[in-house]
């Protein structure tokens, strides 16, 4: 009988899309932020991102080689990890530190769990956390974007220019206001309020890809339109962060800034659209997504307002990642017909 006849379980037809196409969408969504980063940080942004993506891919390739598994670079997830990691570090970070972060992100954050789909924590955020733990000072030193100061040190000159011109990020300023109840607070709050427009466009000090709210919003809307991400998580993250910031503002208007400044600053937008929506590490069910998003938003604000670090996104993401299995478990779906024998 015909040997070319295939026998397999049903179903016998499949939809025409793949993991790769889903990931490609995310990369496209990150492009506006990339463009903004290039505008503000010039070649530094390009090289940092390239270094990061390259080392992520290389690490993944090596890990697969070591495990004698087929190469999994094709799914593009390593590229996304590299991009997000690059976007979430200050542009001054030396390349070798970047490489350490990337290797940690892919090897420890992802490959030890069995590669894509099995990782419990968002690899990029794990990498960023590790970098913060290792090089705290470096991770909290930001250069002024090239658009503000054209003399900003270019690539390769970091070591030659002894004092890099630094500017605290809006978040760091906010933190200072909260922590030091000193006399200059009003002045500082005014300063923060003054740069809101800059923050929206992105010409403030900050992490590579996190400064421009506009670019991130464009990317996020693209993903939403393509239905690559669910609208629930961004809404929950931003909503709960807004509520927390609002409460803080009401309780202590002296030392807090308006909620929208919090939303527009730092990594909250990239988190809401690109990191928290990472399907691998977010809950599966709709209810779970609401809880997850709200948790991320609230924890971010908690750390920003009460904790030691100016930025709380990475910790909030990792913390919520860690409880994702529990959320999944407690938001278990009930079959359409109700629970059996109930």
């Amino acid at each position: 009988m015909a040997q070319n006849i295939i026998v397999s379980p049903s179903p016998h037809i499949y939809k025409r899309h793949s993991t790769q196409s889903v990931m490609l969408d995310v990369i496209i969504g990150l492009v506006p932020a990339m463009i903004a980063a290039v505008i503000f940080f010039r070649t530094k942004a390009v090289v940092l991102t390239l270094v990061c993506v390259a080392s992520c891919c290389l690490t993944e390739w090596l890990c697969n080689l070591l495990r004698k598994k087929p190469n999994s670079l094709g799914d593009l997830s390593a590229v996304i990890t590299g991009m997000i990691l690059a976007f979430s570090v200050p542009p001054t970070l030396p390349y070798w530190a970047m490489i350490i972060g990337s290797v940690f992100a892919i090897a420890i954050g992802k490959m030890v769990f069995g590669g894509l789909g099995a990782n419990i924590f968002n690899p990029a955020m794990a990498g960023r956390c590790f970098l913060t733990a290792c090089f705290g000072t470096m991770m909290t030193t930001w250069t002024v974007p090239a658009t503000i100061d054209p003399n900003m040190p270019q690539v390769g000159t970091v070591s030659q220019v002894p004092t890099v011109i630094t500017q605290a990020t809006p978040l760091a300023l906010i933190k200072e206001v909260i922590k030091n109840k000193s006399a200059e607070q009003d002045e500082k709050i005014a300063a923060i309020k003054g740069i809101f427009k800059n923050m929206f466009i992105g010409s403030t000090g900050g992490c590579l890809g996190e400064t421009s709210s506009l670019a991130l919003l464009i990317g996020g809307v693209y993903l939403l339109i393509r239905k690559t991400i669910s609208w629930i998580i961004p809404t929950a993250v931003l909503g709960s962060a807004f509520i927390c910031a609002f409460i803080a503002c009401e309780l202590d208007p002296q030392h807090s800034v308006a909620p929208w400044i919090h939303l527009a600053s730092g990594g909250l937008l990239i988190c809401a659209f690109f990191i928290a929506t990472d399907p691998v590490t977010a809950p599966l069910t709709k209810k779970g997504m609401w809880i997850f998003g709200a948790g991320v938003g609230a924890l971010t604000m908690l750390i920003r307002l009460v904790g030691e670090y100016p930025e709380g996104v990475m910790f909030a993401i990792l913390l919520m990642n860690s409880v994702t299995p529990l959320i999944d478990r407690f938001t278990k779906l009930t079959p359409a017909g109700g629970k059996p024998n109930a």
Partner: protein
């Protein structure tokens, strides 16, 4: 002088000694009473296993203490070998206790695969392109011609905790040196009766390695080495009995001897073979 030293020492240290003494006395009483009054009756097998375990309640096995693990391992022998402090010796001991309880006698029970068809011996209609496990494949028709033989995807191999099963060219083959008779493979195999637990009264057991219920013609069409139900062997020795279109060996009646050898020789498809540790190749 020395005496004075000793007295000072005694003076400074007797309270500690007495405290310990009191503690010792107190706890030994509590424990003795507990031992007497709160002893709970246990399944003798569980008790045996408990005794074999180190009893230090370290939790390394993932269970709540040694007694919990003992209980679990008796119910589900597949989780044998989780006691890290005890190591291999304890696992062996538990396996011994459990395998005794399976056979109920001193004769060890070991699995026999009732199929001897390798890939080249079988007829296939098409290519199977589904989940590569026997259970999945068995749910479909036409994965291979013979519906009763070994599918060769290795569900049994995956279930074996001792690495005693190999799939050799599409046929599950048991390494009787490593096998402990835990019955996991016979439970994992989707083909009914294909892997059967057999009392190994001898180190090499004769067997009719086929369970095809097809009539002889179809069996022949599907497999080069199947039992065609010719009944020749049943005429030689009464341990051979007929089932639906195939002969099988009643292992309880089996005694190695001349007549069995004749039956083996007379079998037209050579489906009567030896299995076991000392099986001739």
């Amino acid at each position: 002088m020395i005496l004075a030293d000793i007295i000072t020492l005694w003076n400074s240290s007797w309270p500690a000694g007495v405290t310990m003494l009191a503690l010792g006395v107190g706890f030994s009483i509590v424990l003795l009473i507990a031992d007497k009054k709160l002893k709970v009756k246990m399944d003798p097998k569980i008790e045996q296993v408990s005794k074999a375990l180190p009893g230090i309640d370290c939790g390394a096995c993932g269970f709540a203490g040694c007694s919990s693990y003992a209980k679990a391992v008796v119910q589900n022998p597949e989780i044998i070998g989780k006691c890290a402090p005890g190591g291999g010796k304890v696992s062996e001991k538990i396996a011994e206790i459990l395998s005794l309880s399976v056979s109920g006698s001193d004769i060890p029970v070991r699995p026999i695969v009732h199929c001897r068809a390798h890939k080249d011996d079988k007829t296939f209609f098409g290519q199977y392109d589904g989940i590569p496990t026997c259970t999945s494949a068995n749910a479909l028709a036409n994965v291979q011609g013979c519906k009763f033989g070994c599918l060769g995807f290795g569900d049994c191999k995956a279930s074996c905790k001792f690495g005693a099963i190999k799939i050799i060219n599409g046929l599950a083959t048991i390494d009787y040196e490593k096998c402990t008779g835990c019955t996991a493979c016979s439970k994992a195999c989707p083909q009914q009766g294909l892997i059967e637990m057999v009392p190994f009264s001898h180190s090499a057991m004769m067997t009719v390695a086929c369970r095809s219920q097809e009539n002889g013609k179809d069996t022949k069409a599907f497999c080069k080495v199947g039992c065609i139900g010719c009944k020749l062997c049943t005429k030689q020795n009464e341990a051979f009995v007929m089932a639906t279109n195939f002969a099988k060996l009643d292992y309880k009646k089996y005694q190695p001897g001349e007549t069995c050898e004749t039956a083996k020789k007379k079998c037209p498809t050579g489906v009567i073979i030896y299995r076991g540790k000392d099986a001739p190749a």
